[in-house]
Symmetry: C5
Subunit: 234 residues, 5 copies
């Protein structure tokens, strides 16, 4: 496993945002929005064996599935494929090592918490100083178990002596959740002092939610109607 | 596989208590109680490939699944995940090597024996001197087969020339068994001259046991009633 | 994995045509036609572990499954077996390395896009200069995901600093599709200034298509007849 | 894989008896009897990855599953677990190498032949000199295929230039067969000039056989009775 | 993987005959006949991991499953087990390397072609000179795909610059086919100027064929009888 650099970027203590796919895809949704709105450049890719050999084409040019976009002070790690659990330890270590060499000043990992709703965002951090810092933005996640990259990369950062925080957005379930993504983005806008448009994601979320509400109402009508017409005894 | 040290602890011939999950979780239950009541510090973690990439969050801070807590004269090895059988040999060796460097004076392995009841604790040891020592506290386990870490770590300690004993608590079955954990804790309180509260575990056990008794009585009534009403001939 | 050279060919900045089997076999069909019509010589083979140990016999002489045919200015990579996904990264790298040593000037990868028809050919490239070059011949593939060798080999060429393009022919489905192969061949005739006969493939395609049309008509008659005789209500 | 020596034994050209579990457990039964009656000492163990991580407890002391017992002129190799087929080559080699260093003078491998009865013991050897020697004790096994350690260790000994024989006892089937074990022990008593009690095993065998005879008679009575009472036509 | 030499044979440019098991076992049948009738000596064995750990006993002496028999000018490679496909590349390479050191002058690979009959033998070769040579004995195999060792070993010989031919006997199906073996033997008798008895195999074949003919006739009678008695309409 290794990182292949494709662009020369003049880094200035960048923040590293890990936005790999996870529960509700909330991290990927927020990360994608940042890449597009801040016009980040394709910076390079991680060669990860065991990942399906897919490439994404954009305007005729193919890109490897696990890659990094960047500008001077910000890197977003994005993936078209789910990172296989057996590769998470190794990839975490490679990410930390790669961006320590670029004098990263902070790692932020984005993830989702299955919660049946998409309201809050919780924070975790790899030391108490960062827990205090996080309290300015989010509620601290008290006790629980977290899978995937989020916890793992925080521990690797701790081992390497660099600050790292995780933002875990509540999300309805397993379907892609733009509202959860928007909630992450609102926190990131404040933390990173950026100004990424959140409206699109919220509209997308409302459209999905209205559609679901409609379906539920139809279902309800049908049920109440069917009750009158075909009473059931069980 | 390697141990990553996270805290500087000024060890003084510590006793190493292996409390990884096993039958009835009796070892983990006793180990957890010791960690909390003696205020042990998080000392470091074992990087074990093949274990699910989970992290446990406590007060916003993520911890790897297989880890060590310690104070000057005591280390407790604890895990949120079951150690995969294929990793036991290698992990045993790494544990012994790691804590020999800290001048460990004794290894104690905690485990459970499925016995349909939670009464006795049996002892095993890696040499006859320690068998004699154990007789002051528990009955010696005469003959049988033991899986998991318990026997394995004793053999590795023997190879390295260091004393090791195992405490095997009887346990009802496969459900978590706080009474078996309490029985281990009572022996450890004497052996290590510590004073960890056992009452909590016994109350927890009694609550579970009363609940089970109640369920059994209801079941009995229902059965005798059904016998009268619906006699069965088979 | 390694390349075993079997013939001494006096290369002069050859173009490397990757024609391994993929969707609709369009690349293999076009590649085979070029090998035969331009009388390319058997140049060598790739030793790929994990591929079924088959050999193809031609006029009594066995050939390994993954091989290269060549003349001074053209190499065609051909395979009797599908390249296992887990070998694609390594084989891509070996191909690029092998033919950089022969001063290759361009890599062209052939592939198929399942489209329900066999009309267009789309282009991808590993840099914007080659995108502009491709626009003279084909429409650029805007956005999507591509599996197999096609995208992968373009990325490896990009890493090695050599130009590479991919030609992706629309294809009906998963059956071998000579019309899609012919469409690739027509582009290649222009791009490489060669003159490989396309008529054979088109006749083959028309024969298949007429057969399918006939079957469809018979089916239609049978259905309309059955409708009259056995009206169906569902 | 390696051998870990646990006891200092002053060897004098020992005979190495391989008594790992196989068909009918005849070798293990005979080997166990020799270990107990000749008071062999626990000499060491083979660390074999892929074997279940079990330890056998005897009088409170845990032992690894694949181990060696010894006295000055005799070693018995014993295992609580079946050696996985994929480990047989490597373990055979390690055994031969380990005991050549102890100036072993002969290897004897014990095994079973499924024969529907437990009468004869057959011999195999890794050279014609040993075939002649064996004829003093047993019938030579003419032609057939043998699995497991028995044949394998003879071939490894032949490669290392040391004499080796195999004793293959007929055995009824797959259940543990003390009579087959006794038959092996009678040959070994003569070959090694030892005097291990065979009576226990024969009594055990007779007890099992009487039990089986009784069951068969009951079954017969039941069948003849049921025939009269419930005649069957199929 | 390695070859272990067991006998000192004074080779004089031997021909190497590969007779490993394949379709119809025709190669093994012919090879076995040559080993017995020409009194070849057991020369050594190939240590192949992944092959079942079986040993064949002959007159009390165990032999490993994949082995070589030889005399001054002829080596026959024979195996009691099918070579696993994943081992074919490596074993081919080891065979060629081993016997190049013995100044082999020609490799002959024996195999079967499923053909529904056992009449012809076809030839393949690793260069055109050998194709011409083969035409004196057999028809050349024009076009097709061959699995297993036959094609593979020819390619390895070609890479090493040594002549190799393959003889592929037609065979009825998947049952052992002595007639196909006899057909191979007749060609080998001429090619190698040896005089191995073919009659035994032909008699064996005729016995099998007569038995099958008889069964077919009985079946036919039964069918025609059943037709009259129980006419069937489907």
């Amino acid at each position: 496993m290794r990182f292949i650099e494709k662009e020369d970027i003049n880094f200035n203590n960048p923040v590293i945002l890990e936005a790999f796919p996870g529960t509700g895809l909330v991290g990927s949704i927020a990360g994608f929005q940042i890449i597009k709105e801040l016009n980040l450049k394709y910076f390079g890719y991680f060669e990860v064996e065991g990942v399906p050999p897919l490439t994404t084409i954009e305007n005729g040019i193919p890109y490897p599935p696990v890659r990094a976009y960047a500008k001077e002070d910000l890197v977003v790690l994005f993936s078209d494929v789910i990172i296989p659990p057996a590769k998470i330890n190794e990839l975490s270590r490679l990410i930390v090592e790669t961006f320590l060499e670029k004098d990263a000043k902070l790692f932020i990992s984005l993830g989702g918490l299955m919660a049946g709703k998409s309201e809050k965002v919780f924070g975790i951090a790899n030391n108490n100083k960062m827990i205090e810092y996080l309290k300015n933005y989010v509620e601290i996640f008290k006790f629980g178990v977290v899978g995937g990259m989020s916890g793992n990369i925080l521990i690797r950062c701790g081992d390497a002596g660099i600050d790292a925080v995780g933002l875990l957005a509540e999300t309805v379930g397993i379907r892609p959740d733009p509202r959860g993504g928007a909630n992450l983005l609102e926190i990131l806008n404040k933390m990173l002092d950026i100004n990424v448009n959140v409206e699109n994601l919220i509209k997308e979320a409302e459209a999905i939610e209205n559609k679901l509400k409609e379906l539920a109402e139809q279902h309800l009508k049908m049920m109440s109607k069917s009750k009158k017409e075909y009473p059931m005894y069980i």
